[in-house]
Assembly symmetry: C2
C-alpha cells in the first residue's frame, strides 16, 4: 500500500545538494585557492576514487593528520564516499599518542601535512596497519621522509574513472568517522559516529548557529575536533562558504574576518580571549556570530564580544555527542536585563538542541534532580546524536551507557526554566567540608576582575576541610593584581567559603590541543605526595 522512498541519511546528501543546487557558489577559500560547490563535489569524488584505487575497501579506516586545510574538509566527504571511515587526528598530539591512535584504529592509509611529518617520523617503524603514507604540501615545507605525494595519489583516481561511485548509501548506521578523545586519563578512546547521527547533528548546527547560503564560516575550530562539531558537513549542506585557516593566530583571524566578511566562527573560550585581547580587535562591520563551547564563556567575555558586534551562541557537548548537544537558546524577554544578568543567563549550557533530545540531569540512582538551580547532578544524554560506541572497547562503551543513558561526567544544576548549567567536571569538583564548590563558579568570579586574562581553579589538600580551592591566574598584558585583591573580589561576589585560599600568578596554563585547560595537570602538582584523591560518588547538594 505504501511506497516509502527511503533516502538514507548521510552527510553525503549535503554536498550532493549544494553541488546540484548551488554549483557556482564558492564552497572553499584557502589563501588564493577557491573551490565552487561543483568543484568541491568533483574533488571529493576524485579523492574517493584515489582511495579505492589505492586499495581502500568499505569499512577501512583512513587517518588524516592535517591542519584546517581544504584537503581535510574534502576528506569529510571523499572518505565516506569511498565507504571508508575517517579518523581525523589531533595535530598537537605527541608522536606516541598518534602512534597509539593509528594502531588502535587500524588505519590503512595516512594522509599527513608535510609540516606534521616530524610527529610521524619517530614512530614510523611501529605502525602496525598503515600501508601507505600520503603527504600534502600546503605550506612549502619539505617532507621529513619519503612518502607518496598528494597529487600523485589523486591521479590514481583515473585508473577507476568509470567505476560507479554512488552518493546514496545502503545503511545509515554505517560508521562515518572515529574521533579519539583527548584522553586526560588513560589512553584515548575512539568515538564512533554514524552517517545518520552526523547528518542530524549537521542539521542541528545549521539551525542553532543560524547558517544560511550566505554564511562565510571561518575555520578556527579544528576540524579534527568532533569533525568540527559537524560543521564540516553543516556549512556544506546549507551552501555556505568555508574559509580555511592553517594555524590559529589571532592576528591572522582578524585579517581573515575583514578580508572575507566572515559571518560565523566557532571557537573555544580560550581562542576568543586571545582574539578580544589582540591589538587588531575592533568592532566588525557585519554581525559575526560566534558559537562557543568546550568551556562556559565568562560573562566578561560575552560582554566584550558583544561590544565587537560579535553575538555569542553558547553550546555544550562532548566528543561522544558529535560535539554540541545543548544550546543556550537566547529568549527575547531577556533583552531588557542588564549586561551582567544577560551574560550570566547566556553562560548557562542551556537546553537539548533540536536533534539531541532528551538531555537530563540525574542523581546516582538515575532520578532527575529537582529544577531548583541548586541540586547537583550528572548530565546524561540519549538519542540519535549520541555516539554509536567506543571503537574496539565494549567495556568502556557499556560503562558510559550504564542505565541506558550516556554519562557525560559533567556535573550541573537544572534551573526552573529548563536550562542546564554546568558546575564542574565530575572529577574537577571541590569538596570542602562536605560542601561542593564549583570551580567554574569560582573561575567566573575571578574572571570578572578587570586585570584577569584567564584563570583556572583546582582543589588543594587541606587538613581540616579535606579540600580547598586554589586559583591560577594570568593577568592581562601590562596589568597586575595581588592575591589579596583577587580573593577580596571573589568574596564580594559569591559565598566566602568558595573563595580561593591561594592565588598563584602564572604566565600560561596547561591546555589540550583544543584549548581546554588541563586542570588535572595543575591538580596533580598540588596533590603530589598525597594519597590519590577519590573521584566520583559524591554528588550531593552544592
Amino acid at each position: 500500500m505504501s511506497r516509502v522512498d527511503r533516502t538514507l541519511l548521510t552527510p553525503l546528501l549535503l554536498l550532493e545538494r549544494s553541488a546540484h543546487a548551488l554549483p557556482d557558489h564558492v564552497a572553499i577559500i584557502h589563501g588564493a585557492r577557491r573551490y565552487t560547490y561543483r568543484e568541491m563535489a568533483a574533488e571529493a569524488e576524485r579523492l574517493a576514487r584515489a582511495l579505492r584505487a589505492s586499495g581502500i575497501a568499505p569499512g577501512d579506516r583512513v587517518a588524516c593528520l592535517l591542519p584546517n586545510i581544504p584537503e581535510l574538509l574534502l576528506a569529510h566527504f571523499g572518505v565516506p564516499l569511498a565507504r571508508a571511515v575517517l579518523v581525523a587526528i589531533n595535530t598537537r598530539l605527541a608522536p606516541g599518542e598518534i602512534e597509539y591512535i593509528l594502531n588502535h584504529s587500524g588505519a590503512k592509509l595516512l594522509v599527513v601535512d608535510t609540516g606534521l611529518m616530524a610527529s610521524i617520523a619517530p614512530v614510523r617503524g611501529r605502525l602496525e596497519t598503515v600501508e601507505e603514507i600520503v603527504c600534502v604540501d600546503d605550506a612549502g615545507i619539505e617532507p621529513a621522509f619519503e612518502a607518496t605525494g598528494y597529487a600523485e595519489f589523486l591521479q590514481r583516481a583515473e585508473l577507476i574513472q568509470d567505476e560507479p561511485l554512488p552518493w546514496r548509501i545502503d545503511d545509515e548506521d554505517r560508521i562515518i568517522s572515529i574521533n579519539y578523545t583527548s584522553g586526560t586519563t588513560g589512553q584515548p578512546k575512539g568515538v564512533m559516529y554514524s552517517h545518520r547521527g552526523a547528518y542530524l547533528n549537521a542539521l542541528a548546527q545549521i539551525v542553532h548557529s543560524r547558517h544560511s547560503v550566505n554564511s562565510v564560516y571561518l575555520w578556527t575550530l579544528p576540524m579534527f575536533h568532533c569533525n568540527g562539531w559537524c560543521t564540516t558537513w553543516g556549512v556544506t549542506g546549507i551552501g555556505g562558504t568555508h574559509v580555511c585557516l592553517r594555524a590559529v593566530d589571532a592576528g591572522e583571524i582578524w585579517a581573515q574576518i575583514r578580508e572575507h566578511s566572515v559571518t560565523h566562527l566557532n571557537a573555544a573560550a580560550t581562542v576568543l580571549i586571545m582574539l578580544i585581547n589582540h591589538p587588531s580587535a575592533a568592532p566588525v562591520a557585519e554581525r559575526l556570530i560566534v558559537t562557543t563551547g568546550g568551556a562556559p564563556p565568562s560573562p566578561t567575555l560575552i560582554s566584550e564580544l558583544e561590544a565587537l558586534n560579535m553575538p555569542v551562541i553558547h553550546l555544550y557537548g562532548l566528543t561522544e555527542t558529535y560535539g554540541p548537544a545543548t544550546i543556550c537558546e537566547w529568549q527575547h524577554e531577556w533583552n531588557g536585563q542588564g549586561t551582567t544578568a544577560r551574560a550570566r543567563l547566556l553562560a548557562r549550557q542551556g537546553v537539548a538542541h533540536i536533534t539531541a533530545n532528551p538531555i537530563s540531569v540525574v542523581d546516582e540512582q538515575m532520578n532527575e534532580v529537582p529544577k531548583d538551580g541548586q541540586t547537583l547532578g550528572e548530565v546524561v544524554m540519549r538519542g540519535s546524536t549520541v555516539m554509536a560506541g567506543y571503537y574496539r572497547d565494549p567495556e568502556a562503551t557499556a560503562a558510559a551507557f550504564r542505565g541506558g543513558w550516556f554519562h557525560s561526567g559533567d556535573l550541573g544544576v537544572w534551573h526552573s526554566d529548563g536550562y542546564i548549567e554546568l558546575r564542574d567536571r565530575k572529577k574537577d569538583i571541590i569538596i570542602s567540608g562536605g560542601e561542593n564548590i564549583s570551580t567554574i563558579e569560582v573561575e567566573q568570579a575571578i574572571a570578572s576582575h578587570p586585570a584577569v586574562l584567564e584563570c583556572a581553579v583546582v582543589s588543594t589538600p587541606h587538613e581540616t576541610w579535606g579540600e580547598r580551592p586554589k586559583a591560577f591566574v594570568i593577568c592581562k598584558p601590562g596589568q597586575a593584581a595581588t592575591a589579596a585583591e583577587i580573593i577580596a573580589h571573589v568574596r564580594g561576589r559569591i559565598a566566602h567559603y568558595k573563595a580561593p585560599d591561594a592565588v598563584e600568578f602564572v604566565a600560561e596554563l596547561p591546555k589540550t590541543a583544543t584549548g581546554k585547560i588541563q586542570k588535572f595537570v595543575l591538580r596533580e602538582r598540588e596533590w603530589a605526595g598525597y594519597e590519590a584523591r577519590v573521584y566520583g560518588g559524591t554528588v550531593g547538594n552544592g
Copy 2:
C-alpha cells in the same frame, strides 16, 4: 561492537523536546487562551488517551474538520501519540467532498467545529466508517445536530490515566497523516506522510523560514494544508509561539500582527495581496518574515511587502512533497541589484531545500533539461520528504512515481545558477502556433500594471493558432484600466505573441480553499462546446 542508539524520527520528539526544555514558554495563543509547552504536551497526552479510551487503535484514522484553532494543532501531536493517523480535512469543501474523504480514509472518529457541522449534517447518514462525531465549540456556535461534546470526550482520558503512552515510536515509516489533494480533476487523492518524512520536513521549515525560540508564528496558512507545511511540527520543535486564527481576515491578521509582535507567517500569494491592499496595511516595527508558496509571488507583491518590513521567503512544493520542497535561497550578492531585478530573482522557485534532495527538471525521457533558463521540462522529486504514496490507490501511486521519481505536473526551466523557475502547471500551459506560452509569465506582466489587483490567464480556442491567451483581471478598488491598456502594458514587457488577445474585467476569481486560482474553471468556460483539450505530452521549447 557498535551500540547505535536509534531514536526513531517522529514529530513527537519535537513537542517532547520543547515541553522538556522550555516548559514555561508560551506555546499557543488563541484569543484569551494560552498554553505553555508543558500544558501543550499534557493536552496532547490527554487527547491521545481520550482517543484510546474511545476505541481508537493504532493505525485508525481520526478526521478533523476544524479551523486554525488549538484543537487542530494539538491533534497533530495527540493523534500520532495514540498511534493513529490524522486526516485534517479542508474546511471549505462541499458536504459531498467531505463525505468522500471520510469514507475513503475510513475515518473512525470525526472531530468537527460546531461552526462547520452544517457541512456534515446533509451527509451524516452516508458515512460508512465514522462511529462517533465529537464537536468543538470554539466560537459559541450551536451544534447543528447531536454529537459528543469535546470536554466530555477529553474526560475519557481519565479512564486509562495509568496506561503507558510512549512518546517514542517503534517504526519511523509509520503513517502519521493523510492529506487529501484538492482534486481539481477527479476525486481527491489521499497523500500519506510518514513520521520520518514529517520530522525531516519540519526541520527544513525551521531552517528555511529561520525559526527560533523567539518565533511568533501567525496561523494564516490552513493547518489542513499539508499539515501547515509541517510548520505545526516545526514551530513546536524549535519552541516558538503559535498564534491561532479562526478565520483568514485581513483586518484581523493586521490586528494579531500588532498585538503579538508576530515574527513569521506563511501564506499563499492571494492572502498576501489581500493583506497589502487592506486599509490597516502599514510597515511593521519588527521584521516579519513572510514565507509564501503555492503560486509564485509577483515582483510587485514582493516589492510591496518589503516596503512593509516584511521580507519574503519563497518556497515551492506540493501536497505530495509535505508542502515545501524548494527554496529560493536569497544570495547576498543579489543585494546590489535594483528592486525589479531582485524581485524577479526571488519569484523563482529556487533550489532543493535542505532535506528534499534531489529535485530535477526533466524531459519526457527523464533526461535533465539544459540549465539554460529556456528549455521547459517537468519538475520531479525524490527523497525522504516525498510522500509514502496515495492511500488505497496503488495505480495513481505508480503513475505518479513512473521512472522512480515523483512527477509534480509542474513545468519549469532551469537557470544556469541552479535555480528552478516554474512556467506553468502542465495542464495550464498555452500552446499557441506550436510555441509554449507560460500563463505565469503573462500574469506577472499584467500584475505589474498599477491598476491591477489580481489576474489569471488561461487558454482560449483559436482557429489559426490552436490556442491563445485570455486574461481575467480584478482592478484595485477605485482604479480602472481598459483592455487595450493592459495588452499594451504586457507587450511593452514580454514577447508580443504572449500578450493576451482578450482581457475580461471581473469582480472575483474562482479559488480553491487554499487560495489558489482555479484556472480550470475559467478554462472550461472558454472551451465549452469545443472538443476536450488534450493535455500533456507537449513539453518542448518555450
